[in-house]
């Protein structure tokens, strides 16, 4: 192969590689906000070994997340097994309480080992105070679908307190609640990266939907209260879909008064073009996408304008284009009228002014 050919091939392939690298920039950053030493959480005192493992899992997982959804879930299964072994072997001061903790860890481990394809299962280990009497009564559970609540009684809490008294200089006389909160703070950071990544993606999606709504209220036809109610009713199946949705594709109108400029060909010269009012009896408007490929709407309309020698009231159809311009036709007995919205007239006037400006420049050029 000629050297020049090899050089060209190398150049092309390196360009492709650079492009791929640029295009495959990570979408999730394993930065300090999700992998720092303690994730900012309160210091763990009694279960530092658990915390260490949870942080290791979180950090490892974090670095894999840019391969999402092809992230191996095995590390979660391993973490579940670790929790069962490490936490279940801790003595909490009484056999029954130890047994309940072991049961909770089995539930945790079971969930971590049984992963689904749509989203990883990463439940919390929860400790909740029963704050009725402020006496540090509490319960603990795992946030899986299946119900599980473990409520240590007063004796168990006292024995637990005794068991952990003097173990740590940092907290020499902890309540049993504090011991369990320590365990909670040790375990739960394992999921921080994953939750942050998922929430970031969801936030982006919701932001796009919110932006659609903003756009709708900016550019769609302004509605009256009646229009709002009618549209909400007719588009209710869209709004009630069971998830967050963007604006409906269509707007609906009824009994809607508008300002128009009417041209009536039956009126005397000089009186043919007059401002008036129209009432849209019923109509619709595709404000964005439509079967025609551009925003359009149609209404059945009656128009009223003060013109001499003609039937001032006529009924016909109105076409709305691009949410701004309205052009319509109405029948007044044997005469026809046409009407436009004030916006369209302004648009035409602006265009006319522009045309006149160019025309005069052109004419000056030839003078």
């Amino acid at each position: 192969m000629k050297r020049s050919t090899i050089a060209i091939l190398l150049l092309v392939s390196s360009t492709i590689c650079i492009a791929q690298e640029e295009n495959s920039a990570p979408f999730f950053a394993c930065d300090d906000s999700v992998v720092s030493e303690d994730l900012g959480s309160p210091s763990v005192i009694f279960f530092t070994n658990v915390q260490r493992e949870a942080l290791r899992v979180n950090n490892f997982f974090c670095n894999q997340l840019n391969n999402f959804p092809d992230v191996p879930p095995e590390i979660l299964d391993e973490f579940g097994s670790f929790l069962e072994a490490a936490v279940s072997s801790t003595d909490f001061g009484s056999e029954d309480l130890n047994s309940d903790v072991a049961a909770a860890m089995r539930i945790m481990s079971g969930a971590l080992g049984e992963q689904r394809s749509t989203r990883f299962r990463m439940p919390d280990f929860d400790v909740e105070e029963i704050e009725d009497d402020f006496d540090s009564a509490f319960f603990f559970s795992v946030s899986v679908l299946e119900e599980n609540n473990f409520v240590p009684d007063e004796d168990q809490r006292d024995n637990c307190k005794v068991r952990f008294t003097g173990i740590s200089n940092q907290e020499p006389n902890p309540e049993c609640l504090q011991v369990f909160e320590d365990l909670e703070n040790a375990i739960n950071p394992y999921k921080r990266s994953y939750q942050a990544m998922i929430a970031g993606k969801e936030e982006q999606t919701f932001a796009e939907i919110s932006a659609d709504w903003s756009r709708y209220f900016e550019i769609a036809r302004t509605q009256t209260t009646l229009d709002l109610v009618l549209t909400s009713w007719l588009e209710r199946s869209h709004m009630r879909q069971g998830f967050i949705v963007g604006p409906p594709k269509r707007q609906w109108f009824m009994l809607r008064p508008n300002v128009i400029l009417q041209y009536h060909d039956g009126a005397p010269k000089g009186d043919q073009f007059k401002p008036g009012v129209s009432i849209e009896w019923a109509g619709f408007n595709y404000w964005d996408d439509s079967p025609l490929g551009f925003p359009f709407g149609l209404s059945v309309t009656t128009v009223y304008a003060d013109m001499p020698d003609v039937d001032t009231v006529g009924t016909g159809l109105t076409l709305h284009v691009n949410n701004r311009f309205t052009i319509g036709w109405a029948k007044h007995g044997s005469d026809d009228s046409f009407h436009v919205s004030a916006d369209l007239l302004q648009f035409m006037q602006d265009k006319q002014q522009q045309f006149d400006k160019y025309k005069s420049r052109f004419e000056r050029f030839f003078d």
């Binding site: 105070e129 946030s143 679908l145 504090q178 739960n188 998922i198 970031g200 879909q241 998830f243 001032t312």
Partner: protein
């Protein structure tokens, strides 16, 4: 990122003023919340100069501006039409239905630009029940997602008041699908296993009432995910109402402990129905009055600050409760109760009745306030 808990505040109907996060300033709703809790906290020893903001970050979801935008657009448009209607009025001989209808309707929308109670309060409720509510829910979903991303779901507490309870309920119902599995077409969701919020506080809960119009999700259905515990979107759920708050009476959110909404155990451990009856202000719907009541602020402070940071003894707590009760307006309870008998709020089931009751309630409060001011 910090592990400091965050409290997301969602205001109700009315003219709350916006927060200014760039300058670290709360809006009026956030200030009411902070000031009410601080006032309570500072009555306990060791916390005389303390503030809840030393323990949590307050984040306000402000959506009033969306309603204002729409209100003003409608008013502007109606004004244009009014001008035109006047010019062509000879075309509408007196007494025609159409001119009367258009006049009536149009003049109502023209008034949207005013700051009257109706247009700043009731219109919010009306707007939310139309498709405009979809915009509010999308924005709230975005905010909740951001907070979960930045703080982790276990650090999030949400406090909603009045119309805010409906917005919160409907949003949570739409972003937490049952069983943690999304239905086809779902663009984004959170898992009831992975992403449970720490607490939800519904203050003067109108979600059940508003759902009769919006129809998104029945708050009391067994399949609802807006509930505490397993299969729910939060670990704890506090439903707060004042005994004489008419908005909380109408089509009340009142789950039964029958194993349907949630299990018996979860009902006992994770759900709190808090009922206040002390009246410091004739406006029993008032948010500050709700928050400063010991039935609310004591568990709230404990939950937000943690058991190791807020640990008043029983004597101190009892004294606090007694002090609060002693500030109640003498005779106010009986007076309001009588007034409500006249309004007949007992069996109100519809939004229309809700609005009419609200107007009557407002008149009673204004009257009582005037009497109080006259007597002081």
């Amino acid at each position: 990122m910090t592990s400091t808990p965050v409290v997301l505040l969602i205001h109700g109907m009315g003219s709350a003023t916006p927060p200014d996060p760039g300058n670290n300033k709360l809006g009026s709703f956030g200030e009411e919340f902070r000031d009410s809790l601080d006032k309570a906290l500072q009555q306990f020893s060791g916390h005389e100069t303390d503030s809840i903001e030393n323990y949590v970050t307050l984040d306000e979801f402000y959506y009033n501006d969306k309603f204002d935008l729409i209100r003003n657009k409608m008013a502007e448009r109606a004004n244009d039409v009014r001008t035109r209607l006047d010019e062509v009025q000879q075309l509408f001989p007196g007494g025609t239905f159409l001119r009367r209808f258009v006049d009536q309707f149009n003049s109502w929308e023209e008034d949207f630009g005013d700051d009257e109670f109706l247009y700043t309060h009731w219109l919010d409720v009306l707007f939310y029940t139309t498709y405009i509510g979809g915009w509010i829910r999308a924005l709230l979903a975005e905010r909740i997602a951001k907070l979960i991303k930045d703080h982790g779901s276990k650090n999030i507490h949400v406090v909603a008041h009045s119309l805010g309870t409906a917005a919160l309920h409907d949003t949570l119902a739409q972003i937490y699908p049952p069983g943690g599995e999304p239905i086809p077409g779902t663009p984004a969701f959170f898992s009831v296993e992975n992403d449970q919020l720490e607490t939800v506080w519904m203050v003067s809960n109108v979600s059940n009432l508003i759902n009769t119009v919006v129809g998104l999700a029945d708050p009391l259905a067994p399949g609802s995910t807006v509930k505490p515990g397993h299969g729910g979107c939060t670990k704890r759920f506090y439903n707060v109402r004042h005994e004489l708050d008419p908005f909380a009476l109408i089509r009340r959110f009142k789950p039964k402990n029958d194993g349907n909404w949630i299990s018996f155990d979860n009902f006992k451990l994770r759900y709190r129905a808090i009922k206040n009856d002390v009246i410091l202000d004739p406006n029993t719907h008032s948010f500050p009055q709700y928050i400063c009541d010991p039935n609310v602020c004591l568990p709230m402070l404990r939950k937000l600050m943690g058991s190791s940071k807020f640990r008043p003894g029983k004597t101190e707590r009892d004294k606090f409760i007694e002090n609060h009760a002693s500030q109640g307006l003498t005779g106010a309870f009986g007076r309001l109760e009588d007034a409500f008998r006249g309004i007949d709020v007992g069996d109100l089931e519809t939004l229309d009745e809700f609005l009419r009751a609200g107007e009557a309630f407002k008149d009673v409060i204004l009257e009582m306030r005037e009497e109080l001011e006259g007597g002081s």
